[in-house]
Structures are given as structure tokens and as C-alpha cells.
Amino acid sequence: MPESTPNQPPLVRMSGITKRFGQVTVLRDVQFECRAGEVHVLAGENGAGKSTLIKILAGIHTDFEGRLEIDGREAHPRNPLQACALGVAVIHQELSLIGAMSVADNIFLGRTATRAGFVRAGEQQQSARRCVAQLGLDIDVRQAVEDFPAAIQQLIEIAKALSQDARVIVMDEPTSALNAPEAAKLFALIQSLKARGCAIVYITHKMEEIERIADRITVLRDGRWIGSAPAAELPAPKLIQWMVGRELGEQFPRRVPHPGRERLRLENFSVFPSGFSGRPSVTQISLSARAGEVVGIGGLQGSGASEFFLGLFGAYGSRTSGVVQLDGRSARFSSPRKAIASGVALLTNDRKATGLVLSMSVTANATLAGLRELSPCGWRNPARERAVAREITSPMRLRAPSLDAEAGTLSGGNQQKVALSKSLQTRPRLLLLDEPTRGIDVGAKREIYQLVDEWTAQGIAILLITSEMPELLTLSDRVVVLHRGRITAELSRSQATPGAVLAAAMGQVAKSL
């Protein structure tokens, strides 16, 4: 392992970094150093501020406080192109390649070699070929990027970074789309990049990868710097302790459990969003939920929890397998309509993209899922719709100018309440809540927690996905943890400590399972 001399300045030094979005401070006095020839893992839970830090380095967020030095000189990249000129390349989770364009064109995108405005294709292809050859990649650079599998695309992205003479390469969960042999290839490449004196900043949620490639680790939590240490001094239990650290603040009263009889039963349930030949999002899930119980689904990004909900709700058609029983009756739904008719409701994790029709009124949104029942023979009854909307939104303490206001004009918390109203309006027996408090203020959050309590008292069974650990532990009667689509732990309320959940979410299978 190439040891960098302590005198040599680190390739990247960030100190006193503070970043605010409006009122919210997402990074507070964070420091970070990465030296040439090391793989520096940036660890932390969802929302710890890892991505924000990376975006500052990459010139995407330009208004921040603090000092950024690259190669010993103060730098302030104003845009990704400038960051690139400073030798920083970021390989984002979502690839930034243009599928229909050739490999060579992608590698030189934005800095195409031209003569008098005409592309010098031959020259470009030659240098592109050299670039990919460096990675031990044998592909035709004239072929379109989309013709290659995800792993190769990932490598092309890295080739692009190398062609820019990047010395700092940031990889944000690069293995999320790769299978094991492909990931092994990537790790081999990382070793050779290290040997060439590149600094690699690596973000991952997988403990196994941290143990395998990290030289140093920096941990962020809630936007603060917790510490940096050589990987050897930070074994998994200690790392997890650094990541969760906090005591569970008794911000919110813990719910009184109301368990009833078994409502939902899953046996070997798998979801295949891209068809049975594709990769499943979740594999062989077996769990049960009682009436009045909240089962929390823990997991980090890429756990497949949201796809699990969509599969359960019939949003992937019949591309699911296994046994699903609702109150003892088979309930593997092939469409959301059937799921709703059988008493299942879903709150999606993105109210703007998949939850609400923002151009419609509060009433129209709240009654959309139940419109079939509300309009016998198809003819609508606006007065009845409004009454139903009022009835369902009033316990939510919805603050809207009127029920005729467009949903898009409401604040985030109130939009969320409209989305919840829609789910509740169909009187579900099973409620799937995906990030019910994402992006809403503390007051609205508390109200939603109370509502969850009321709903369970009515005997609704709830499955809950949330990326906020305190919320998961406060609301759940039981926690099931997913890692890459498989259950790695099932924890009772007393077993569910932040450390246990996080360890399982990072892929450490609980010994006691």
C-alpha cells in the first residue's frame, strides 16, 4: 500500500465547510482530507450530508462557507467544468452518459476535438481507444453506450474521468448496478488507480466493500464531521457506533401497540420490476403484519424497499412471485386498482412525482382513488366528493385556502396530508407508507405520527419505510431490515437499536436470526 508522506499536502483538503439550503443547515463545519494513493470512504446514514459534500467538491453547489484546497491551492470551482479542470471527476450514481451516443463521443462530450468546427472523429476515436485500453477494456469505441451492460458503462464513465486527467475520482455507490464479478473488476481498477497516485473518494452503504477497499474512513452524521481514521482502526462495530452515535431523543412519545390478528402474510415474495429475466428488487421476502401493528422496513439506499411496496401494490403488474395473503386470502395483485379494491393503500415516497396530481384540487386528489365508489354509474357527485374530502382531511388538520385550491399551491407538509387523505379515503386494511414525513417540518411530522397511532388503533396494519432512524424506531412495533433486496434482520422493538438496524442494513446478517 503506498504510504503518503505526512509532509506531502493532501490532494483534497476541505475545512470548516458549512452549507445551508434556506433555513436548513445540511453541513456544519465539516472537514475532509484525501491523499494521493488512498481510497477514502465517506460513510454515513442517508441524509448525513455525504452527497452535499461531494457536490461542493464537484462544483455543483457553489455557495458554501469554508475552505476547499485542491493540491495545496485554494480552489473554488464555480461549475462542474471548472472542477474537472482542477482534476476532480465525479462518477454519480446515475450515470451521466448519453446512451445513444458512441463511447468516444461520450468520453469527449463537452470538449470535442474539432478543426474549424468539424469533429475530428478519427483522432477522438484514437484517444478514446487509448483511454479504455488503460482500463483493460476491449470495446469498440464507435458503438453506442446503451449497447453495453451497466458494468461496462460504469467503466466508460471512469474512462471519461481518466481522460480528463482527473487525480481525484469520486465514486458515489458505484456498485449499486453491478453484480459480484463486475464489482470485483471495479475493485481491481481502483487498486491500479491508487497505484497511479489518484485519490479515490468512495461512498458506499455496504460494509463488505468498506472492509475490502477502504484505506481511510471519514464519518458524517446529521451534517457534522464525526471523525476520520485509518480503516484498520475502525472495525465494523466502531464504525457503526460513529455513524449512529446519537441517543434516541425522546422527541416523540412512543406509540402504544395495538396488535390484533394476522393481517398480511408474505412467503418468499419477490419483485421483478424489469421482468422475470431481470434482476429482482427484493428476493424471497417472508414476513407478516398484524392488524394494528406497524412493521418498519429498515434499509439504506438500494435496499429495494420502495420497489417491494410497489410490487406488493401491483404497480409492476404480475411481475412478482411468492405467496401474499391478506386476512387469509390470496392477494398477489396485478394492478393498483385491484390492490385498492382489496383494501391496500400506498403512500409513495415522492408526492410530487407519483403521489399527487398537482394541477388538480385538494378534493379531486383526495377522492381520486375512491372515485369509483363515489360516483355510481360513473356520474360524479361534486357535493358528496367535497363532503368526503372535508371529512377525511379534517382530522389531518390540513391547512389549505380551500378544498378547491390546487394541490400544487400547498406547502410540502400539507401536500403530504392530501396524499395521505387519498390513501385513507379508500378505507384500507393495509397501509404502505413510504417515507411519510420526507421533506416536511417538525410540526407536520408530529401530526403524522399521531395519525399513525390513530390508524393502528382502528386496526389498520401499516408497513413503514423511512430513512430516518429515530422515526423508524419510534413508530415501529417491529423492524425488518433489508439489504440489497433481502431480509438481513428481523428485530423486535427491544432489539431494534440504531446499531443493530444499521449493521443489518449494511449487510451484516444478524447472528441471532
Binding site: 394541477s359 381520486l368 369509483r372
Partner: protein, 337 residues
């Protein structure tokens, strides 16, 4: 965030002008004012002018009714002009050459139109072909069918005998009935039919579950699907309805021309789209309504009439109409984030 002190509500006229309906009405009033100023020696104030304006706008208006449904669902229907030709040819064939009674001609024509719409609807909704492409294909296909059914010639009251000579038959009662004026000759039957179409479309859009589904699909298709909205069926029915209204327009066209012209209706789809858009219905889908479309139909109809009574040549009319469409849509875009 606690509730800020409420700002004083803006004056009513401002709210009105900020709404799509207010702007569309303003556009119409501006056009009417222009008509009152450039009244062509008082021609604009004659009742006959308004009757003709409404009659001429009616066929386009029927297409605009169906187009509104499709556009609200987030799509577009380019096939309506060709469907007009197809149904006009078929109706003329059935009513003039085969001498079918009206109660057979009308349903048969409507079925032909609705079937065309249903096919392009299913192609775009179930197979997820872009509506522009699916209806473009239907536009060419239906035009071809119209030419095939008519043998490439106008289907008129001059019927060719077996020996090649022509005989003239009477204009059928159906056509005479449609091309008729009521209220002492002050209102065309075609306009009445347009108003019936508009009312039917309004009821479907505003009072039926399906209409709400169309708004939801146009506003956010994925959210609609996850709310249990039958997306494919609702979308396909919008195109079928558009085809149905195009068939009505085709019948009226045939009745007015007293023949079925396979070249009829070319470019009508664009006029219908312009009417819908000038009314303020969003081409992005999810927003709009039949009232707006009525305003759009009247605006374009009167604009065209005012230019023609002032003897502006067709070239100038087209240029001006293009400019005014852009201007109208620009004003509607203001204030919308």
C-alpha cells in the same frame, strides 16, 4: 413556518385576468372590438355575419371538443381531419348512392369515426406509442381509406350508371336537415349540433368520473395509475370520443358540401388544436376545459371572419392568424411558474 400575516387579497379583476378563462375571454373581446372598429361598412353588425361565422366555426368546433378531451389527457390527435374526410365520404356513399335512411347513416358514420379514434387510442395507450406518432399514422391511414372508399373522386349527387352515363339524384333528407337554418333563418343547424357536442363533452369532462380521470392522467399519469385510475381505458376512450366528434363533423361537412370529398378536412386538426390552445387548455395536459375551448373556437372563428370581411387576402389571414396564436399563448403563459 408559521402563517404569515395574510396579504390583502388582490382585486377581483386581477384574479380574473390571472385565470385561464379570464385571459381567453379577454382575447375574444379584443377580437370582437377589432371587429367593431374594422366593421367593413357595418357588415360586422349584421346578424347574417354572425350566423355565418358561427356556422363556419362549428365544424372546427366539433373537432375542438374531442381535441380538448385528448389534450387534457396529455395527448394530441392529428387524425381528426382525415376522419372528417373518411366519414364524409362514407356518409355520402350511404346516404346518396345507397339511399340508406338517416337512422342508419348517422350511427354507421359515428361508429366509423369512433373506431378510428379507438384504434389510435389503443395504439398510444396500450402500446405506449407517442400520441403524435400514433395519430399521425391514423391521419395517413384514414385519408387512404377515404380515397379508397370514394375511388379518389368526390361522392356527389351525380351517380354513375352501369353504362357510364351520369344521373342526378336528390340531396338526401339527412343532408338537407343538417344544412338547414332555424329561428327564422338566423341560426344554422350545424351550430346547434356543435353546441350539442360541446354540451356532451362538457358533461363528460365535468360531471363524469371519466373526465376526472382524464385530468388526473394529463396532470400526472403515474400518480393516476397508482391511484387505481384505469389509464389505458380512459385514454383510449378520449381518442375514441375525438374520433366520434370528428365523425359528427364529417357528417356536417358532407351535408354542407352535399357530397363526400376525400380531400376534405385537410389541416382541420391544426385549426382545432389552435382553438383549444388559444382557449387556454394546456398542451402539457391536466389543465383546461370545455368553456375555454368555446372561447377559443369563437376567437379563431371571429378572427377569420373579421379578416375576410375586411377583404384581407387569404395569405394575409394565415400570417396574421399565426401571429395572433403565438401572442395569445404567450399571454397565457405569463404568471404560470
Amino acid at each position: 413556518m408559521n402563517a404569515a400575516s395574510p396579504a390583502p387579497p388582490p382585486p377581483a379583476w386581477k384574479i380574473f385576468l390571472a385565470s385561464a378563462g379570464g385571459r381567453a375571454l379577454l382575447a375574444l373581446l379584443l377580437v370582437m372590438a377589432a371587429g367593431a372598429v374594422f366593421n367593413a361598412d357595418g357588415a360586422f353588425f349584421k346578424i347574417g355575419t354572425h350566423r355565418d361565422t358561427l356556422r363556419q366555426a362549428s365544424v372546427y368546433g366539433m373537432l375542438a371538443c374531442g381535441m380538448t378531451l385528448v389534450i387534457i389527457s396529455g395527448g394530441i390527435d392529428l387524425a381528426v381531419g382525415s376522419v372528417v374526410a373518411l366519414t364524409a365520404v362514407c356518409a355520402a356513399k350511404m346516404a346518396v348512392h345507397w339511399n340508406w335512411p338517416a337512422w342508419e347513416v348517422v350511427p354507421a358514420s359515428l361508429v366509423i369515426g369512433a373506431a378510428c379514434g379507438m384504434v389510435s387510442g389503443l395504439i398510444t395507450a396500450a402500446w405506449r406509442v407517442q400520441p403524435f406518432i400514433a395519430t399521425l399514422a391514423m391521419m395517413v391511414f384514414a385519408r387512404g381509406l377515404a380515397k379508397y372508399a370514394s375511388g379518389g373522386m368526390k361522392v356527389s349527387t351525380a351517380v354513375q350508371n352501369a353504362d357510364g352515363s351520369y344521373r342526378y339524384v336528390d340531396v338526401p333528407a339527412l343532408f338537407r336537415g343538417i344544412d338547414h337554418r332555424i329561428l327564422g333563418g338566423n341560426l344554422s343547424m350545424v351550430t346547434v349540433i356543435f353546441i350539442i357536442c360541446l354540451a356532451l363533452a362538457w358533461v363528460a369532462l365535468s360531471r363524469h368520473r371519466w373526465g376526472r380521470y382524464l385530468y388526473a392522467i394529463g396532470g400526472n399519469e403515474e400518480a393516476a395509475r397508482l391511484s387505481g385510475v384505469p389509464v389505458i381505458g380512459a385514454k383510449a376512450c378520449a381518442y375514441a370520443a375525438s374520433g366520434l366528434f370528428a365523425a359528427v363533423a364529417g357528417l356536417c361537412q358532407a351535408a354542407q358540401e352535399q357530397q363526400g370529398d376525400p380531400e376534405a378536412g385537410a389541416g382541420y386538426e391544426l385549426v382545432a388544436i389552435a382553438m383549444v390552445v388559444i382557449g387556454g387548455t394546456s398542451l402539457m395536459g391536466g389543465r383546461g376545459g370545455m368553456g375555454l375551448t368555446l372561447l377559443g373556437v369563437l376567437t379563431i372563428g371571429y378572427l377569420d371572419k373579421i379578416l375576410s370581411i375586411n377583404a384581407v387576402p387569404e395569405a394575409g389571414r394565415l400570417v396574421l392568424t399565426g401571429v395572433i396564436i403565438v401572442a395569445a399563448v404567450m399571454t397565457q403563459r405569463r404568471n404560470r411558474k
